[in-house]
């Protein structure tokens, strides 16, 4: 039986605005997911390592400083370096629409901008993680807590 969805919410870079990250973390927890929040000022390496240690299905990245262009792709890169190719990466914050295609190209599954209801994030993650667990061939889908 796959356990609850495991989510790492992370703040890459130096941005200190974490109202959104905390609200999303709490809404996902209220929806039955297991959520770990990294706190501020995380490097891409630390975030990827935490995703591995926490056995995360999902990594949620938040940035309001404009550093998403550099840092979101770097997180995906570090996840892949650790063999976490199928972790679902989503992003949020102040992210201009014109930046979204490049982020998706880099492996960010979806970007939720200001005003996104948390219900939309929850729905998206349930679908994406169910797909991931169905398609998983490396056995990671059984890692969830029994």
């Amino acid at each position: 039986m796959p356990g609850p969805i495991r989510v790492l919410v992370a703040k890459p870079g130096l941005d200190g605005h974490d109202r959104g990250a905390k609200v999303v973390a709490r809404a996902l927890r209220d929806a039955g997911m297991e959520v770990v929040y990294t706190g501020l000022r995380q490097t891409p390496e630390r975030i990827a390592q935490a995703a591995l240690d926490e056995d995360a299905d999902v990594v949620g990245l938040s940035s309001l400083s404009g550093a998403h262009r550099t840092l979101f792709p770097r997180v995906v890169e570090e996840l892949r370096r650790r063999g976490l190719d199928d972790v679902v990466v989503i992003g949020g914050g102040i992210i201009p629409a014109e930046d979204i295609p490049a982020l998706q190209e880099a492996g960010v599954a979806c970007v939720f901008g200001p005003g996104s209801p948390t219900s939309a994030i929850i729905e998206f993650l349930r679908r994406a993680v169910a797909e991931r667990r169905r398609g998983g061939t490396d056995g990671r889908e059984s890692h969830g807590k029994a």
Partner: protein, 562 residues
């Protein structure tokens, strides 16, 4: 006036008449058509009565008084904007010092009356642009300043003796102020006349904004060290801007914004007194910074309540004697978190309402947000509309011609009393915990704010709180407005120019200055500001100065809230 007539105007008579109105005229109307909601609340969750009438609980001379006099409810100056309008001060900075210098000159040409510097995040947390921690962040949310050379470029062609400059800088405030002072000396500007503000408010960084470096103890030493140096050398400078703005943006209510900001203010006052300063020597240079959110009357009342409460606390609890120590002078910024990415032009209207509330609340200076700020940093066009909004309020609307024009409104006075009383309850709770530093270290303020933020999100998602364009009146978005793009090459160019500065400076002088700073930092009670000034004068970098202090003071490790 006869006794009879007096009795007819009294509160008891009003209360009796109100009962009659409720059971007569009102009941009939409600019988025909119910109200839109069963109860009405402010954005912060305070109840809103249907109608406010004189209730007799108010003592005009005690609670309102006259502008320019204790308790300053009606304003800190006797003539307010009839004398001088508020300072129009748009926060700006992005990319390189050179680009930001051009934006400053543009804003001054457009009639802005004060400068406000936004620094990039590496500068705000004490890293040079070539530090690995600065990856992706150089020049993004503000201008990158590594050395005095960048400061020279930033203010090129701008006489510091003739502008007032606000710098949003906290953990390394002393370092940036030191650079500004050296530049002013070189321009020949008299230091005791130099006007401006450093934010220098570290406590709210732990609570809400996140750009801390050192633990609270040494941070408070840096704050009070700056107070002491300025009271001797930079007498016209605002040594701190005690900020509720970011606390509110993080999700706090209006009451929490006032309470936590003033509690932090008391902590600074006590720390400075503890460091041996006389309260009336530094308190007149304390300034504040509030948010102006979208609930119009609540915000007007909030500013009035904050002003009265600070005056009472400083006079009665702290025992300050100089009336200038009782005055809460404040800057206001409209609420970034009230802006929507959807239908961005609607943000002009939100900002106008918020700016008007700040003016009716008696602000000393104002930043109006640009309509595109939920999407990106503001463009030149959007920032002009934001400034024009202030100019329309100032020069066309007539609201600036009467002092505290909403004073005496039954509703405003009742709400002012309520916000003051509830904020004071919070402050007393915080004082019982041992003050603001303790209430931050144990996570109390952070938890209260997170709770309010989550509650607000739930109200929006359930539709109980309407946000136009987001959960009501949506449209298919067609085109985004043209946005400001920060040159992606700015980081690389900044690293190159830093390298060049390091190559041409006197390395031995830098080393000597940093050693002296280290020795001073290691002995508690030693003044730091003079050593920091000497270090930046010989082009020591911000990262080098903060690096020395990091070694001596250590770094703050937040306890994870979640």
């Amino acid at each position: 006036m006869g006794d009879d007539e007096k009795a007819r105007c009294g509160p008891a008579e009003v209360a009796r008449a109100m009962v009659a109105w409720e059971s007569g005229t009102l009941a009939k109307a409600l019988g025909r058509a119910p109200e839109r909601e069963t109860s009405f609340t402010t954005l912060s969750g305070l109840d809103r009565a249907r109608l406010y009438v004189p209730d007799g609980g108010h003592d005009y001379l005690r609670d309102e008084g006259f502008p320019g006099e204790y308790p300053f409810t009606r304003g800190i100056q006797p003539t307010m904007y009839r004398g001088r309008l508020w300072t129009m001060r748009q926060y700006a900075g992005f990319g390189s010092a050179d680009e930001t210098n051009r934006r400053f000159k543009y804003l001054l040409e457009q009639g802005q009356t004060g400068l406000s510097v936004a620094f990039d995040l590496p500068t705000q947390v004490g890293y040079d642009s070539d530090d690995p921690m600065a990856e992706g962040e150089v020049g993004r949310v503000g201008v990158a300043i590594d050395t005095l050379a960048d400061m020279e470029t930033l203010f090129d062609g701008i006489p510091l003796a003739r502008v007032s400059t606000s710098m949003t800088i906290n953990a390394p405030a002393a370092v940036l102020l030191a650079m500004y002072v050296v530049l002013a000396e070189r321009q020949g500007a008299p230091l005791d006349k130099l006007q401006g503000t450093v934010q220098n408010d570290i406590l709210k960084e732990y609570v809400a904004r996140g750009t801390y470096i050192f633990p609270p103890g040494p941070s408070m030493r840096l704050v009070t060290d700056l107070f002491a140096w300025c009271s001797e050398n930079l007498q016209a400078w605002n040594t701190i801007s005690i900020s509720g703005y970011h606390i509110r943006e993080a999700g706090a209510t209006a009451v929490q914004e006032v309470a936590f900001t003033l509690a932090n203010g008391l902590a600074y006052v006590r720390a400075a007194i503890g460091a041996g300063l006389d309260v009336d020597a530094f308190a007149p240079r304390l300034s504040f910074f509030f948010n102006s959110h979208i609930d119009f009357f609540e915000e007007v009342a909030k500013f009035r309540a904050a002003r009265r409460l600070w005056a009472r606390l400083m006079r009665e609890r702290i025992g300050a004697k100089d009336p200038r120590s009782w005055m809460l002078r404040f800057h206001t910024q409209t609420a970034g978190s009230s802006l929507t990415a959807q239908q961005p032009l609607n943000n002009v209207v939100r900002t106008t309402l918020e700016a008007l509330a700040a003016v009716l609340g008696g602000t000393q200076s104002l930043h109006t947000n640009s309509y595109d700020e939920a999407l990106a940093l503001p463009s030149e066009e959007s920032v002009r509309v934001a400034l024009r909004t202030q100019q329309v309020i100032a020069y066309e609307s007539g609201v600036a011609d009467v002092v505290d024009p909403l004073g005496g409104s039954y509703y405003i006075e009742s709400l002012t009393d309520r916000i003051e009383a509830e904020a004071l309850r919070y402050i007393d709770r915080i004082e019982e915990m041992g003050g603001a530093v303790a209430a931050i270290e144990n996570g109390f303020m952070q938890r209260e704010i997170e709770e309010s933020a989550y509650r607000h999100q739930q109200l929006v998602e359930s539709g109980a709180r309407t946000v136009v364009g987001v959960n009501a009146f949506q449209v298919e978005e067609d085109t985004a407005p043209p946005l400001l793009a920060v040159d992606p090459e700015v980081g690389r160019r900044q690293v190159e120019s830093l390298k060049a500065v390091k190559a041409r400076r006197d390395g031995r002088a830098v080393e000597k200055a940093l050693d002296e700073l280290r020795r001073a930092a290691e002995s508690p009670g030693e003044a730091l500001m003079p050593r920091i000034i000497e270090a930046v004068r010989c082009y020591a970098t911000l990262g080098e100065v903060c690096g020395v202090l990091r070694e001596v003071f250590g770094e703050y490790q937040p306890t994870s809230g979640l």
